[in-house]
């Protein structure tokens, strides 16, 4: 039985200390691309959260039940990306069929998720060097789920904060050549500096 502290550490560490976007540079493309409006940033984050948790479970299971027992861990890249891609297809299909409203909100972001580094990155760190790799199969799975959820929360947090900042930046008087992405990047850099300060809290 894994103590609740471990889950707490997993969630805080994956959400704040090792924030996917600012500290691990995963999922920077949607971070810069889909953060112009708060609404779309939240839609993207929600879709990412959903896919990240499920894909973490699936990739963890496939790795430990199929790849590892047969000694073919080296094909994990191709296996993981295809699992994530099929999962996204399934989710998209389900949303299309059952909820038009949801599709309107999330549908546009789902295809983008396949190429979101954060999903593959979190799945990879769960099996290789993350907290989850230190517990046995069952415990590792639980920690992996919590870690994935924490990472997705961290992603959502950053997306929300950043899109709010960007909406203000649009109205700010920025030198011509800094307009748009350059000033956003520098803003993100300052956010990363702030997150650096969270390093010692756990």
């Amino acid at each position: 039985m894994i103590s609740p502290t471990v889950f707490f550490v997993a969630i805080v560490s994956s959400m704040l200390i090792n924030n996917v976007v600012l500290m691990r540079f995963l999922g920077v493309c949607p971070f810069l691309g889909v953060s112009k409006k708060t609404e779309s940033a939240l839609g993207m984050s929600l879709a990412v959260m959903f896919v990240m948790v499920i894909s973490s479970i699936l990739t963890y299971l496939v790795y430990h039940l199929v790849l590892e027992p047969f000694g073919i861990e080296y094909i994990f890249i191709i296996a993981f990306i295809l699992i994530i891609a099929s999962l996204v297809q399934l989710v998209e299909m389900a949303i299309k069929k059952f909820s038009k409203k949801l599709y309107k909100g999330l549908g546009i972001y789902l295809p983008l998720i396949v190429t979101n580094c954060a999903i593959l990155g979190v799945a990879e760190s769960n099996i290789r060097d993350g907290l989850a790799s230190e517990y046995g199969f069952g415990g590792g799975l639980q920690v992996a789920i919590v870690t994935a959820f924490g990472a997705a929360l961290g992603f959502a947090l950053i997306m929300f904060a950043f899109s709010s900042i960007r909406e203000r930046l649009d109205h700010a008087n920025v030198p011509e050549s800094w307009k748009g992405v350059p000033v956003s990047l520098v803003t993100a850099g300052i956010m990363a500096l702030a997150f650096l300060g969270l390093g010692g809290i756990v």
Partner: protein, 406 residues
Amino acid sequence: MLDKLKIALTLLVVGAIAGAAIVGVYTLTEERIAANREEAQNADLMAIFPDMDISKLEREEMDLNYLVERMTAYDSDGNELGTIFRGISSSYGGDNTVLVGVDRDGKIVKVIISQTSDTTNIVRDVIDLLDTQFAGKNFDELSHDAPSGATQSYNSVWRVVEEVSLQIEGDPTQEAFRSVFEDADSYSVVFTFEDKAFTDEYVIRDADDAVLGYAYLIEYDEDNEVFLIVDKDDVFKGFVGIDNVDSDVEDAIVYYDDQIDSDLVDIMADSGDVLEDAINDLQPIVEATTRIDKEHVVRYQNYYDDEDDHVGYLYTGYSSGFNGMNVIEILINFDGEIVSIEVVRTSDTPEYIQPDVIDQLDNLYGETSVDGFEADDVFAGATSSGRSVLNAVGAALEAFNERDGE
């Protein structure tokens, strides 16, 4: 339909070719990758002793709290350079693997974090500190100054270094026991007392796991810890301090130096006045002589067989026999059946207890209760010794059932 089939077939072929290509490259690179991984591990070792001949490295597995491996390093001429300890300790991001190199004089050569799951820039703060904090120092010079913001990472290193220190400098407790029993090899706490002047009872064993004696930990205050040591026949072996001992405690220790090798009970009889007058500090010795009055089963411990499977609980029972105290270890499996009984310490005469009690004990194996047994029947010839064993076994079974009922 044919179209679909064609599509599926195309992709299957693409997939098969892809798989084959991956497998092909993997077979080509497999050996080199394995070699690289090993070399990378050794690279950290080489950083500690650059003159080391890696092929002469002697590896020995360890099973301590943090330390997992002990490696003795030799140079190419076969001269011993020192020892490297590998320890694994957890930090906030996951486990850190720490290597501690110690030269032959007991000085730390280098401390390296060879693997980490923590954020790079945080670990970097710790790595910057490692050389100034540890390298070239003796273990007693170390100070625990964690850098701000990287406490967890630093502590994971510190815990490993601390355990290495125990290995190199020796465990002070072990050293204390060794000053009395030369052969002392291991020790463990058998019982923790709550109502006595001493807190823990230790059993001291030699390399063959035979009991050498017992120690009672007396904590006067935070800095004052003294062991009262008796051998397995309750002969007083003196007091040993493991921390700084106050001068009046020291005086008492010196006073009792004369009494070493006398029976505990005799000391009691002799020195009653002295105790009353001046040396209240040594009240424990009185209690140590009276502990034998209590018949009890001390706490159980989990018992593991040779394959490390948890097979049952080992109870330690105290029970007075014909001459004095008997200590009996009873192993009970999960079904509450007696698996084995061993008399680990007895004050009774061997000529009686060996044939009449110890050799008869297997009659009890497999039982879940001793109610049907009478000491007179089973252990004819050494009835009171036998009764003492039966009492201990019965108490152990009772303790098991109580525990089980929870």
